[in-house]
């Protein structure tokens, strides 16, 4: 299976709010204000301060978070009605790869991803080793995930997600825990991918290289467009 040549993510008045923790307060808390936009570009960056709603926005795309109001559709599939199908087509990479890798070793984790593909045990093993080789991680195939460096873990997490060839890749601040060298390595890998990529980051230089930038602030989209203008808008917001 190869990635879809073009993907379309549509949010129509999608908002997220949570019930108040204090029972005396009646109004729910808005995490993400109603948002309508269509994402078709291959490289989209999401920037904004901590707590601005970036992670919630990204989680809306693969159905990890369902909109309280409005709809989210990925290639025509609703995240609400067709959650499993959406998750199969949208790979998600978390900030901390340790919470993402659920098996003891990289090879076993990739094999776990491949279980959905209904391959034989031998095929799963061969494919997992091929993927590890592709990411130059074959020497770590049998290492404990606890023994990997931060960069190796994040590359492994990326490999486990890409093993099932998603159409879209969503990454939530994937370089936050990485040093400069590993960040560069990760970004080189991402640049070479054919998938549509939507990535949140605090690296403004990186965001400026994308096709489109979304700036979030206090749960609302405050800028959508040219990367350089977006970065400038964010700098202005941050003071």
């Amino acid at each position: 299976m190869s990635p879809a040549p073009s993907c379309r993510i549509e949010l129509a008045q999608a908002s997220v709010s949570i019930p108040p923790s204090d029972p005396r307060i009646k109004e729910s808390k808005t995490i993400l204000a109603p948002l309508s936009l269509t994402l078709t570009q291959q490289r989209i960056a999401v920037i904004g301060a901590n707590g601005s709603g970036k992670s919630t926005f990204l989680r809306l795309i693969n159905g990890l978070v369902l909109p309280t109001t409005g709809t989210v559709e990925v290639n025509g599939r609703s995240t609400h009605r067709e959650a499993a199908a959406v998750r199969r087509s949208v790979g998600f990479v978390f900030t901390d790869p340790l919470s993402q890798l659920v098996m003891p070793t990289p090879q076993e984790d990739i094999e776990l991803s491949l279980r959905r593909a209904k391959l034989s045990k031998k095929e799963r093993r061969e494919q997992a080793l091929a993927i590890l080789h592709e990411y130059r991680l074959e020497h770590l195939a049998q290492s404990s995930i606890y023994e990997l460096s931060g960069g190796e873990r994040q590359l492994t997490a990326l490999a486990t997600v890409l093993a099932v060839v998603p159409d879209i890749l969503v990454l939530d601040e994937p370089s936050t825990l990485l040093d400069l060298r590993n960040t560069r390595l990760l970004m080189e890998r991402l640049a070479a991918l054919p998938q549509q990529i939507i990535l949140s980051t605090h690296d403004l230089a990186l965001a400026a290289t994308f096709e489109r930038v979304l700036v979030m602030d206090q749960g609302a989209l405050v800028f959508d467009g040219d990367p350089h203008q977006g970065v400038a808008a964010y700098r202005e917001l941050a003071g």
Partner: protein
């Protein structure tokens, strides 16, 4: 979080007879070790001690045949050493040296045998085996894939929880709170709940645990 992966015997690649042995046979042998070690004292105390000793020796031979070495064996025993000494001391006091030895040897034999099984079987194969065991229960609503995944997650979580204990202990020590039970336990609970949530989210993001045709059933 520091790693404590060594506490759960992970797969050690190799080509020994035990590595090549079918999982079903290995599981049967493990079961036999447990029956011999735990059931033989029913005949008599002396018979139990002798049978358990022979079983332990056989398990130790299997351990070395699998190419696992002294270091790995000592690591497994060291982890339960305090409990073994306490249990043996109590049994000696209550029932004498034969029983004390038999109980201790039975625990070591079964733990080492299960270590041999997990060290010579890739987790993926273990998951397939578990799924096969649960397969007959599918007609009663059991989900074999989900069951095997749950067991894998349980194994994966043990090093995390132990690591969290270590980190919290060090943090409490740094603040001079090493004797404060609350400072040493509450953060572990919070970290573990956070870990469980993060793992659940990661599984959902990867579509693991999703029923194959759940989309049709959604409103």
């Amino acid at each position: 979080m520091r790693g404590h992966a060594h506490l759960v015997a992970g797969y050690v690649p190799g080509s020994s007879p035990l590595h090549r042995m079918r999982l079903g046979l290995k599981a049967t042998l493990l079961f036999a070790v447990a029956v011999l070690a735990l059931g033989s004292p029913i005949i008599s105390t002396r018979v139990g001690a002798v049978v358990t000793t022979l079983t332990l020796l056989a398990v130790m031979v299997a351990h070395f045949v699998a190419g696992l070495g002294w270091h790995r064996m000592w690591r497994a025993i060291r982890l339960m050493l305090i409990f073994l000494i306490l249990i043996a001391g109590y049994q000696w006091w209550q029932h004498g040296p034969w029983v004390a030895w038999q109980v201790m040897a039975a625990i070591v034999a079964t733990v080492l045998a299960s270590n041999v099984l997990t060290s010579t079987t890739p987790v993926d194969e273990l998951l397939d085996g578990l799924a096969a065991v649960v397969k007959p229960l599918e007609r009663f609503g059991a989900d074999p894939e989900r069951f095997s995944l749950t067991v894998a997650l349980m194994l994966r979580s043990i090093p995390f929880v132990i690591g969290a204990f270590g980190d919290v202990r060090d943090a409490a020590r740094a603040r001079g709170l090493e004797r404060n039970l609350l400072a040493r336990s509450l953060p572990v609970v919070i970290a573990t709940v956070g870990y469980a949530r993060a793992t659940g989210e990661a599984l959902a993001a990867r579509g693991l645990g999703d029923p194959e045709d759940d989309d049709a059933s959604r409103p």
